[in-house]
Each structure stands twice: as structure tokens, then as C-alpha cells.
Amino acid sequence: MIEETTKNASNFVDQVDGAFVFIFGISLFFLFAITIVMVYYIIRYRKSRNPEATHIEGNNTLEVVWTVIPTILVLLMFYYGWSGWKMQKDVPDDAMPIKSIARMWSFSFQYENGLVTDTLFVPIDKAISLDLIAQDVLHSMYIPAFRVKQDMVPGKDANIWFESGKIGEYEIFCAEYCGLRHSYMKSVVKVLPQDEFEAWYKLNSVAMDTGNEEVNKRLAGKGVLRKYGCNACHTADGTKLVGPSYRNILSNKRTVVKDGQEYEVEADIEYIRRSIYDPNYEIVKGYDKGLMLSYKDQVTEEELQQLMEYFQSLSEN
């Protein structure tokens, strides 16, 4: 369940919300004040009530007043925003680094011990620094409840940090448009008590967030799919997303296209490996080229085996 209140969700919430109240307060005051004056003038000085206009060309004192007052106010607001923003930029030295990887259209998180997950797990009351890496196009890491956002630019390092003060689950969205399934590119950050986090961190060697006490081989393959965010584009039930489904992948031959040539191919381990390491080598008919990145050096041989066993189990059902 996503938390509904954001009080203390991160160390920035109070400051940012304070700035919002300050800015919206002043803005709404001026909006209402000016609108009320305008409506009053329109009613009071309508032609039927005031047939003769008074000749007035201007008033220099007033011009100065309404130049100086807004200037002071906007400078105040600028200062407020700048000081709050500086806080967000100064990452504490003891922050726990987590690599956050974005690709069309999923996030994954890599911890210092090598653990990779599709959900972000963090301990409460601990500074976390997310090192942001984009593998293909622009993405943006956005955690609304924490009031943090940073674009993820391929080839450029960036990071954000936060410290959460409230246990719970919060949404992560991709805020920078990144193509077809942009609105489905999301994840969750789970804030755990310190000891629960420690226990989870030590136990998990494979990327699973639930039920991994009885990890059998089938679940291991499923875990691999989740770990690398494969399900953002491929399904197990035959639904057509950006990429082909895994359903019946081993039992049926598939028609693929390479350099305009169509041919049939059996999905053996060679094919699966090729599709993951060199995804644009051949494309399943009816799908677009260039959407998938190579996962060479990421997906291991062992994980490939686990995937094959999972696909096998899909065919048996």
C-alpha cells in the first residue's frame, strides 16, 4: 500500500512544503486582491453607473511602489528556494550509495554487495544517495512523496539523496518522457526499519522482494526477469507489449526478420542468448528494431539457465 501522507517521508518534505505554502500564499493573496479590485471597478465604474470617465494618465509614485514591492517579494522567494535547493545538493559523506539504473521502461537498483532489485529498499533514518545512470534515453527519477527529482542523462553522472523518517511504501515515477511505455515506467521505494533492512540485505542474493525462502528454480528464472525489468516490455500471458511474449516460447517456432529476410527459428538457448546479448540481430516479425538494449555482461550464464527452466515451466502448463 502506498502511503497517503507524506509528513516526514523524507528530510526535504518540511522545507519544500514550507516554500510551497509561502509562495502559494503570496500568489493567492495577489490573485484574489487584484481580481476583487478589478471586479469592483468593473461594477462601480460601468457606463450605466458612471457615464463620464475621469481623465487620469498615470501616477509615478504608484509605478515605483508596484515595481519595488514585487521585486522584494520575488527576491525573497528566490532566496527561500535557493537555500532549500542547496540542502538537496549537499550529499552527506556517510550516505549509503545505491546505483539506480533506468532504461526503457524500467528502473533497477544495485546495492554495494551486488544485489540487484526492481524495487528500492532503504532503511529508515539513514541518508541514501542514489547514483543515477540512464542506459538509453533521458529518464527522470521522481519520488513525489520525498519531493526529489533528477533527470537521468545517458553519459552523465548525477545523483540525489534523501533520508526517510517514515516507514512505508512510496511511488517512484519516470518524469521525463521516454517513449511508448513512459507512463508504465515506475517502481516503489520501501522504507524498512533498520533491523529489517539489515536482515533483508544479508539474506537476499537473488533479486526477489517476497517469498524467497523457498526459492525453487522456476522462481529463480522469474526473479531474473524482474531483476532486469524485462516485464516492462514482455509478458508471460501472451499480451502484446513492445516486445514479444514468453508464452509458448519453447514449444512454438517464431518467425523472425533479419535484413528484410524472414525465416523461422526455434527458441533454444542459443536463440535466447542471442536475443538478450544482441537483441537487434534478428527481430520477431511484427515488432520494431532498436528498442531493446544489449544485456551482455549483465545477464550471466547461470541466469540464462534459470530463464530456460522458467520458460520450460511455462510450456508445461
Partner: protein
């Protein structure tokens, strides 16, 4: 032109017989008034297309999951909506239509300085529009990148991004030509006695706009050429895969596209500055302050583009410099609002449709401007950036500001252009529905943004459902209001009562000539002795 024709002094420009007949008499005419109307008809066609695309988007968003279209279509629809509305409607918008028609008349000239160049700029506009929209008919379909064409996604997509980019490039030239024409016209063709400080405010804003068009538009041309070079010849400017820098693209794009916002809004402010004194029957309050603030907006507006990129990863120094400059640009806008409202003080206000549009312009423009403050301040921007809040903000400025001013202008100058009066009751009804629909449509999007809903979202989580339903319903009310307005105007252009020279009691020069004006506007060039808004 034969001797006999040039002596026909009271034939309106619409009835005037030139070298060509029928359609050719329009598309080959160098008369600034006919060119203004050519722009009007083209822009309205594109505007209605853009509106229908917008309605389709809102319909899709009325509920989570798929409603009427799949994500690929939705992404193409919001891209086309943006490209059409920005490049084909709002940027040419007021300057090309009302600037062309009224700038020469308001400064006491027979035409713009370069009438043939003026016709060329319309032709270039049409060519650019056709190229931009040609992608609709190509395999792969229209682009799905958003109107910003951000790299590197725009280099990876399989849709036709290049035609749209080339179209925008060509449209840029149309904009530059119009800018040059207007700046020269204002410098060279003002009537005797009309010194700079006796010039009405609409020409003043066109002057500021002209300079932005001349100086800023080439940047987008260069950028778009670099994209072409990158896509066709693999030169790595922007794509990191080729060694380029995506942030460089954003800088170049916004160096043009931010001043473009001022190309849109300055003439809108100019039109409002004409409407308010006329209907208040009173001189504009603080003429000089309004002129200075116009120039200040045009100038400072060049240096604030970075506020579109606060979360892109620019250096800290760049961030707070841009934030500070953005705050400063709020001040001249505030000065204008104070002067407009003060003009109504002790006035004698005629409550007619153009005035309703102007007053509601002030309201929506204030919401647009004030919401911009939260976006210009760094810490609040981080939360709001790339959310529905931004979409609401710029629709309040671009559709609220520019759109309301355009509507105000067309209702204000209608009797002058067509020589007939429209039904003011129906026009008021249309305005009210449009205004209410507008608020219902866009106000909930502020809330959605604060709650964290990112923009360009085909689908959303359940907690965003409520405001989205209200917003979509607003789009229907707005659409009905728009239909009422357009039908009323089309009918009145043919069947309305014949209008006099000066139905509203305006004091600027266009109200001294025939309705509709003759080919050369003035029987003899007027000599100007008084300021533009002398109601004594």
C-alpha cells in the same frame, strides 16, 4: 493597377478588383489586410485541428488504462497537438493575423514596408505547415517525441521525426521575415507626427516581438539543422551514443523556445492594452510604464531559458542564475497587470464581449504568471518539474493568455475587418462557456501536478483519477463555448448589421478609416498630433 481603379477611393479591400480573380486574388495579394486574413483562416484551421487532438487526449485520460486509443497513438497525438499549437498557431498567432492587418493602419501607413516579402512569409508558412504534417502520411506515422524533440529519444524513435523538424525549420523563416518586415515598417512608415511615444501599444509590442523573431529564431534553425546532420550523417552533436551531449540540445532548443513564449505573449498584451482603454473610455494608465515593461520583458526574456532545465543536471551556478533572472521577468509582467487594472479606476466601462475577454485575460494571465513563480523557484520546481502542474501553467499562459487575447482581439476588431457587427449576446454566452470550461479543464491539473502526476502520461495510478475526470469534462464545456463563438462570428461576417467606422469609440487610427478599410487604408496619410489614447 489602372488609372480608374486607383481613383476608386471607397471600395473596401475585400471588394477591390486587382489583377487576379477568385482564390488567386487572395493568395497572390500583397495587401497586408488580405495577408492577415489568409493567416487568420490558416491559423483557425490548424487551431481547430489542435483542439480536436487536445479533446482526444483529455478523453483518453478520463479513466486509467486504455479508454479510446493505445499508447503509441496517444504519444503521437500529444506531439502533434504541441507541434500544431506552438509552431502553427500561437507563434504566428496575433502578430501574423492582427499585426498584419492593423499595424500599418495603426501607425498611419498604406501597407507594411515590404509587401511582397510579407506575402512570401505566408507562403513559407504554408510550405512549413505542409512539410511538418507530411509525416502523417508516411510509413511509421507522425513523431512521438513531444514537441520538444528531446535527444536522444528523438534519434531512436522509429516514427517520422525529421519532417516535423524540417517543417519547424521552414516555419522559422516565415517568422523571421515577418519580424524584419514589422521592425522596418515601424521604424520607417509611421505617419508624420507619430513619434515613438505617440505610437499605440499594440505596435509597440509588435516591435518587441519583431526583434525577438529576428534574433532568437535563427537559433532554432541552427539546432534543427544539427538534428538533420545527426540523423542523416551520424555527426555526434546530441546523441551520447555518438559522443554528443543531450543537455546541449536542451540549451539550444530553449534558447529559442523560451523567447518564443514572449513572441506569443507580447502581442497578446498589446491587444489587451488596446481593448481596455477603448472600453474604459479612458487613457491607459502609465503609458510609458507599459512601453518600458514591454521592452524589459523582450530583453530579459532572452536570458531565462535555463528554467526549463532545472532538473537536467546543469551546474549549480547556472541554476541559481537562471532562477534569479526568471524571478526578475515576473516584475514587468506585474507592472502591466497593475496598470491595466488601474486603467479601470474611475473609468466609464462599456460591458461588451471584447472587454469580457480582456478582463478574463487578466484573471487567467495572473494565474499563469503566479503559478510560474513556484516553477521559477528552485526547491519547488524540483517537485513540480515535468508534472501536470507545468502543463496547467503553460496552458494558462499560452492558451489562457494568448488565446483569450486572440479572442478579445477578434471580437474587438471584427467590425473593422468585416464591416459588420456580430450578435453580442451570443458572443457573451460563448465567452462565458469558454471561460468556465477553461477553468474546469486546467485548474485540476495544478492539483494533479502538486500530487505528483508526471506529464505526457498515457496512463496513471488510481489516486489521480478524480481531478482527471473533472478536467476532461471541462474540455467539453470549453469546446461547446468555442463552437458557439465561431458559429456566431462566421454567421455575423455574412449577415451581421453593417458597422460604423468606430462602433466602440476607439481613438487609435484604425477607427478613423472605413469599415472594412479601403485598399490603401487612408484617403490621405493622417498627421498625428495627440497621444494614442486621448479620451478628453
Amino acid at each position: 493597377m489602372s488609372q480608374q481603379e486607383s481613383t476608386q477611393t471607397h471600395v473596401s479591400f475585400r471588394d477591390y478588383k486587382g489583377r487576379y480573380k477568385g482564390l488567386f486574388a487572395w493568395i497572390f495579394s500583397t495587401d497586408h489586410k488580405r495577408i492577415g486574413l489568409l493567416y487568420l483562416y490558416s491559423i483557425i484551421t490548424f487551431f481547430i485541428t489542435g483542439v480536436l487532438l487536445g479533446i482526444a487526449m483529455k478523453l483518453e485520460l478520463i479513466s486509467p488504462g486504455k479508454t479510446v486509443m493505445d499508447p503509441a497513438t496517444y504519444n503521437a497525438v500529444f506531439t502533434l497537438h504541441g507541434v500544431i499549437m506552438i509552431f502553427l498557431v500561437v507563434v504566428p498567432g496575433l502578430p501574423a493575423v492582427f499585426g498584419n492587418f492593423f499595424l500599418p493602419i495603426m501607425i498611419g501607413a498604406k501597407d507594411v514596408a515590404f509587401p511582397r516579402l510579407n506575402l512570401l512569409s505566408w507562403w513559407v508558412y504554408v510550405l512549413g505547415a505542409l512539410v511538418a504534417l507530411s509525416s502523417l502520411f508516411m510509413a511509421g506515422g507522425p513523431p512521438d517525441t513531444g514537441w520538444t524533440f528531446y535527444a536522444p529519444y528523438s534519434f531512436k524513435t522509429n516514427t517520422n521525426m525529421l519532417p516535423a523538424v524540417l517543417g519547424a525549420f521552414i516555419l522559422g523563416f516565415s517568422s523571421i521575415l515577418t519580424g524584419i518586415n514589422f521592425v522596418v515598417t515601424i521604424h520607417r512608415l509611421r505617419a508624420p507626427g507619430m513619434n515613438w511615444l505617440k505610437m499605440p501599444l499594440f505596435p509597440w509590442t509588435l516591435y518587441g516581438t519583431g526583434w525577438i523573431q529576428i534574433l532568437a529564431t535563427p537559433i532554432v534553425g541552427i539546432t534543427l539543422l544539427m538534428i538533420v546532420g545527426e540523423r542523416l550523417f551520424n555527426i555526434g552533436f546530441f546523441d551520447p551514443a555518438l559522443g554528443g551531449d543531450p543537455i546541449l540540445y536542451q540549451h539550444l532548443f530553449w534558447i529559442y523556445s523560451h523567447p518564443a513564449v514572449y513572441i506569443m505573449i507580447l502581442p497578446a498584451m498589446g491587444a489587451i492594452s488596446e481593448i481596455i482603454p477603448t472600453f474604459a473610455n479612458k487613457s491607459i494608465f502609465g503609458y510609458k510604464a507599459v512601453v518600458i515593461s514591454t521592452l524589459a520583458i523582450a530583453f530579459v526574456g532572452y536570458f531565462v531559458w535555463g528554467h526549463h532545465m532545472f532538473t537536467s543536471g546543469m551546474s549549480g551556478t547556472a541554476l541559481y542564475t537562471f532562477s534569479l533572472l526568471t524571478m526578475l521577468v515576473a516584475i514587468p509582467s506585474a507592472i502591466k497587470v497593475f496598470n491595466w487594472v488601474s486603467t479601470m479606476h474611475k473609468a466609464s466601462i462599456q460591458l461588451e464581449p471584447p472587454f469580457f475577454w480582456a478582463a478574463s485575460f487578466l484573471f487567467v494571465f495572473m494565474i499563469g504568471g503566479l503559478s510560474g513563480i513556484a516553477l521559477g523557484v528552485l526547491t519547488t520546481n524540483v517537485h513540480l518539474h515535468d508534472t501536470a502542474f507545468v502543463v496547467a501553467h503553460f496552458h494558462f499562459i499560452v492558451f489562457g493568455g494568448v488565446g483569450f487575447a486572440f479572442m478579445g482581439a477578434i471580437h474587438y476588431w471584427f467590425p473593422k475587418i468585416w464591416g459588420r457587427m456580430y450578435n453580442t449576446k451570443i458572443a457573451t454566452t460563448g465567452w462565458m462557456m469558454f471561460f468556465i470550461g477553461f477553468c474546469i479543464l486546467y485548474l485540476p491539473m495544478f492539483l494533479l501536478g502538486i500530487q505528483g502526476m508526471p506529464r505526457r502520461y498515457y496512463d496513471y495510478v488510481d489516486r489521480f483519477h478524480g481531478p482527471n475526470i473533472i478536467s476532461t469534462m471541462g474540455s467539453w464545456v470549453l469546446f461547446v463555448g468555442l463552437a458557439v463563438i465561431i458559429i456566431n462570428l462566421i454567421r455575423s461576417a455574412k449577415k451581421g448589421e453593417i458597422a460604423t467606422k468606430d462602433p466602440w469609440g476607439g481613438k487609435t487610427l484604425e477607427w478613423t478609416v472605413d469599415s472594412p478599410p479601403t485598399l490603401e487604408n487612408f484617403e490621405e496619410i493622417p498627421v498625428v498630433e495627440k497621444g494614442p489614447y486621448d479620451y478628453r
